[in-house]
Symmetry: C2
Subunit: 363 residues, 2 copies
């Protein structure tokens, strides 16, 4: 855990308006922890980022917002997770643009369990809702935590299906963690926080803004070993989530449907673009090689013996930190299958994930 | 046209029982036309095929069956097409194991039109039947002749849809051409012979034998530029047809459906194995680049000017006969797209197809 001062610096870094994540990360890479950034001189910072931004960074102290966030985090079940926290979801580190700070409600331990994203249309068909719930329940029963976006329709059905299992569920929202949206899902959000977690990267009080939802989708995509789209229209947010997942080396999955259903069009487009067509949760588990490593037994302690496949991954990992793509090329496994294996290996202390998505073998 | 004696020799070659097509083709390759085979000595033939088969070949004259077949061919609308006939479907030459002789009822000119295979389950759903008919009609309206197997269900619906268009339809049957099976489709068979053709490679009188249907399927696959599966269960004949099509360089297409419908399982399996998921006939036409060459205008005379793509194919074809795969590698076009372009180019006299699936540029 960060101490209060360090956490305040993380908050300040993320709360200063008008600075993008790329600039923030450049500062962290150059200065180290956030407090070191704010202890730097204007000329030092101006050598790293635009001088106007550097000036703004040193001027804005954001005291009131920082106090409010620290107060919020002091309430039971509320958490602030920085990129440097052990509870920060390690899977995000191998995704594009991991958030520097996450606001979490609920059980943060769930965030480092193996997850699968399940997303889809707000205006789903009755069959789509049933499928979302059934797939999520089956994935949960197999030990995968379902991550989705708390939207009406497919998202809510997926959360509900997963809530019926021990694996729990994670909702990533596009508003501040103190503002649950949509209001109709507020009860569901509280159930999720009880058995899993509700996550947001947006400052407290952030209302529902259209522009924030695609940013939220990248977190859903980054948390999952893969992304299942249950029903989606063409040009919908769910397709963006699946594309982001595929771009980060995750597997995209889609459920086909009638050619006469507009809500199957998006899934069909994904399949044409390379997403795996799935008819059952078992198809997903098979593609991820889920069941070939200890965590699949539903035991996320997974300190058991390593499997033959794990030995193979350890062998190709060698002793130099190595990105996922290189591991995939060396092992012949897909990035999604590797992620599914590396997570329990991390939990078992056999490998560590380093910033920048590098994996290192531990001896 | 063959004269009667030559045709009798072709019939004799195909009617002698217990000799496979591979042996027959070896004989043709070595001796030339069938009459030359029967004029050869036993030692000569024994050097080409198994001596027992060679002995049987010279002993069996099959006079009664040959007479019956020639009588049948003398009736209006009936035809015997040998591998050497101009009306023999040229598309079969680039497929595996082209039949040496075809029995045809109807209009043989249709056999050298660009075709698409449309196949599927005998026990189709009501929606599947409507889809088969609608896709076949749209393909026919675009100038593609639909080829199918005259079975109940999807096949019959596809034939019906195609019959509503000028492009007509071809039924390839697994019984003798004088025995229409199933009996319930006899009226349909007569309509098909009126506006297209009914084809069989089996001797007259051949009853419905399970073993013959997979052989029949290879002809359906070979005739089409591609093969569309509308609805099919796992482990069904339609999947074999699609696989044979893909193995001969044709494109396989499949219509997705509900994951809860057993008759979509086969289509989903095909899509996973690389078949194109299609939602409309337009998807098929696009994949085949149909519409980029003259025949797509519904004018199968197609003596018009060549397109830019045709010029490109002619350029890569050069002056030496060349197999389809090589042409595909040189042009960057898929074999299916090439077949769709080469057919009208053949009809326009710009290229010729030689035995063995080689293409030659004509000047």
């Amino acid at each position: 855990m960060n101490d209060r001062g360090e956490l305040a610096s993380w908050l300040r870094l993320t709360l200063i308006p008008g600075i993008g994540n790329a600039a923030r990360r450049a500062l962290l890479n150059n200065c180290g922890l956030p407090q070191a950034i704010f202890d730097s001189s204007l000329p030092t910072l101006s050598a790293i980022i635009d001088p106007t931004l550097a000036e703004r960074l040193l001027r804005h102290e954001c005291r009131a917002e920082i106090e409010a966030a620290l107060d919020w985090a002091g309430q039971p079940g509320n958490h602030l997770l920085t990129l440097a926290d052990a509870d920060y979801p390690q899977s995000l580190l191998s995704s594009d643009d991991p958030p520097l700070l996450l606001y979490a409600k609920g059980n943060t331990a769930v965030l480092n369990r193996p997850m699968l994203a399940v997303v889809g249309s707000r205006n789903a068909t009755a069959q789509g809702l049933r499928d979302a719930e059934a797939f999520a329940r089956a994935l949960g029963e197999a030990g995968l935590t379902v991550v989705s976006g708390l939207a009406l329709g497919i998202d809510a059905a997926a959360h509900r299906g997963a809530l019926a299992t021990l694996a729990g569920t994670v909702a990533v929202i596009g508003t501040g963690a103190d503002r649950l949206y949509p209001a109709r899902n507020e009860t569901l959000a509280h159930e999720i926080a009880d058995k899993g977690a509700v996550l947001s990267e947006f400052p407290l009080g952030t209302p529902a803004l259209g522009a924030n939802f695609p940013r939220r989708n990248r977190i859903i995509a980054g948390l999952g070993l893969g992304c299942l789209v249950v029903e989606a229209a063409l040009r919908s947010g769910s397709l963006i989530t699946a594309r982001l997942a595929a771009e980060s080396g995750r597997e995209a999955f889609a459920i086909p449907g009638s050619i006469h259903s507009p809500l199957s069009r998006g899934c069909h487009q994904l399949i044409r673009q390379g997403a795996k067509l799935v008819e059952s949760a078992a198809d997903i588990l098979e593609e991820l090689r889920w069941g070939t490593h200890p965590a699949a037994a539903g035991d996320d302690d997974s300190s058991g013996t390593s499997t033959g496949e794990e030995e193979r991954v350890l062998a190709v990992l060698g002793n130099t930190p190595c990105p996922l793509d290189t591991l995939a090329a060396r092992s012949g496994l897909t990035p999604a299958a590797l992620l599914a294996m590396l997570l329990p290996m991390e939990l078992a202390g056999r490998v560590a994930q380093l910033p920048g998505g590098l994996y290192q073998r531990l001896h």
